[in-house]
């Protein structure tokens, strides 16, 4: 297998091509620290630090955008990973 691909034990059946840049960002000023993005993310991409959400493990993201939908103040900015990167699955 291509060495640049990533896999995670708890998410079988999926490989990730590392994206060239961060495609989810949190606006710290707009974030209220409610933790909704942390709660809904099945990939545990987010964590709370000093009362604000931050993107911690973007390499596991399945691009479902649940974080984007639940963020009431609109602090989570969701874009697509570029150039065909991100997750790939044969079993969807």
């Amino acid at each position: 297998m291509d060495e640049s691909l990533r896999q995670f034990e708890d998410i079988p059946g999926v490989v990730w091509v590392p994206p060239p840049e961060e495609f989810i960002t949190v606006d710290r000023d707009a974030c209220t620290g409610c933790g909704d993005c942390v709660r809904v993310c099945l990939a545990s991409v987010f964590r709370l630090r000093e009362g604000k959400a931050e993107v911690a493990r973007l390499e596991r993201c399945m691009e479902c955008a649940a974080c984007f939908f639940v963020c009431e103040p609109g602090a989570v900015d969701f874009q697509w990973p570029k150039f065909g990167t991100g997750y790939r699955s044969e079993w969807g």
Binding site: M62, E63, A66, F78, Q79, W80, F83, G86, W91, G92
Partner: protein, 442 residues
Amino acid sequence: MSDYDVIVVGAGFGGPVAAKKCAEAGLSTLILERAAVPGEKVISSLTIPFYGFLFGPSWIRDGDPPIERPVSGIRNFFVKEGKTFAKDCSFRVPRPFGPRVSIGYTTYCRPFCTWLADRAVEAGAELRTSVTAVDVIKENGKVQGVVTDRGEELRSRMLLDSEGLQNLLGIKAGIRKRYLPEVVELCLLLDFEMPKEEIDRVCGYNLEYFWGMPEEEIIAPLGYGSAVYIFPYRESIHMTIGCFLKAEDEVAPAVRTLDAYYERFFQTDRWQSEYAPHTKLRARIWDTCPIYAGLHPEMREMPTFTDNMLLLGDAAGMEAAAIADGVPTAWFSAEIAADTTIEALKAGDTSADFLSRYDQRLRAHPLITALITDPHRRDLKYAAINVSEKEMRKRVHNGWGFGMMKHLTWPVTKAVVGSMWRKPSIPFRWMNMFNRYYKLYR
């Protein structure tokens, strides 16, 4: 000066259908797909309902798409104290018609979307994969094309947006808003390998749905009408547990607990005896789905068109609330979008005023409105939360058993009559399709 007559964003289920029709009409058509392979970023436990094939694109109906297994029934099970039992509420096409005459076909998304995209390319559309449309080009307040992740500006006379529920381009074009979390369900799917003969023995051609009262803890708290679903594929099964992102001001505690609900379900007797000895976990994947967009007035009324641009599929809220499926409605909207595009370009008028006929046609379609505004599945939520077991069963019967007939027969009949009015010989095509798909499966 335009680079293309039409740019289609997204090669999921809707995009290629629109692109093929445009290309066949002689329009220079480009499909942009952000994944390296069409469909590898589409995740669903997918049974495409029969009406998508009957009333959708004729080339899918008359073609040989990569289906996994025909489905001719739904078996509803109730779980009580870890024991499962099926009693009433089950739906099946009676033999000798079933399983040849099916209510749907299960399929994996990647081969199916690739098959659709290949047909669009054969018709003359250009497909560029691994290219993301990151923004729209706007001049004088009107959409003129897209900007790609490579910074390239691609201009087109018409833009067809089949990007999916995230709707990033629709938002950038200024005509859509984010879907509210209340209408979006997050589904956690498990794919298991299972020998074909065991699937034939255990579920055959039936979908299996498992219901339980809240104390059984097999339906997630904000499950909102979802059950535990098992979909039989050819040599594998797909399972889903879903949970809405928000309900009654509560954000899903969700999703962290979806795994816990699976664990509870895996303790039930039916799973333990029939499935567990024969299954091997292959994939754990998830995605969001705007299932109730059509039931929310504000979401439903968001525009599906603007100057030089039409939205289709999930991007336009085309999700059947009735049965939590978006493929047939994506196909219907894609064909209507292509027809409207062809007319608009022929008339040399791609203004919002001209394109408003797209929205009128979506509303006039015999199935679309009926499917996206059907509340029966959502009503199950109330059944699960605060009614008796008897009432819950009644509602399951209405949502997923023979009671479905009550609210789906009329729109389907209208579609049948409409099709036969246009082409009286069409039932022969339908019978042909059922036979051929069954052979494809065998």
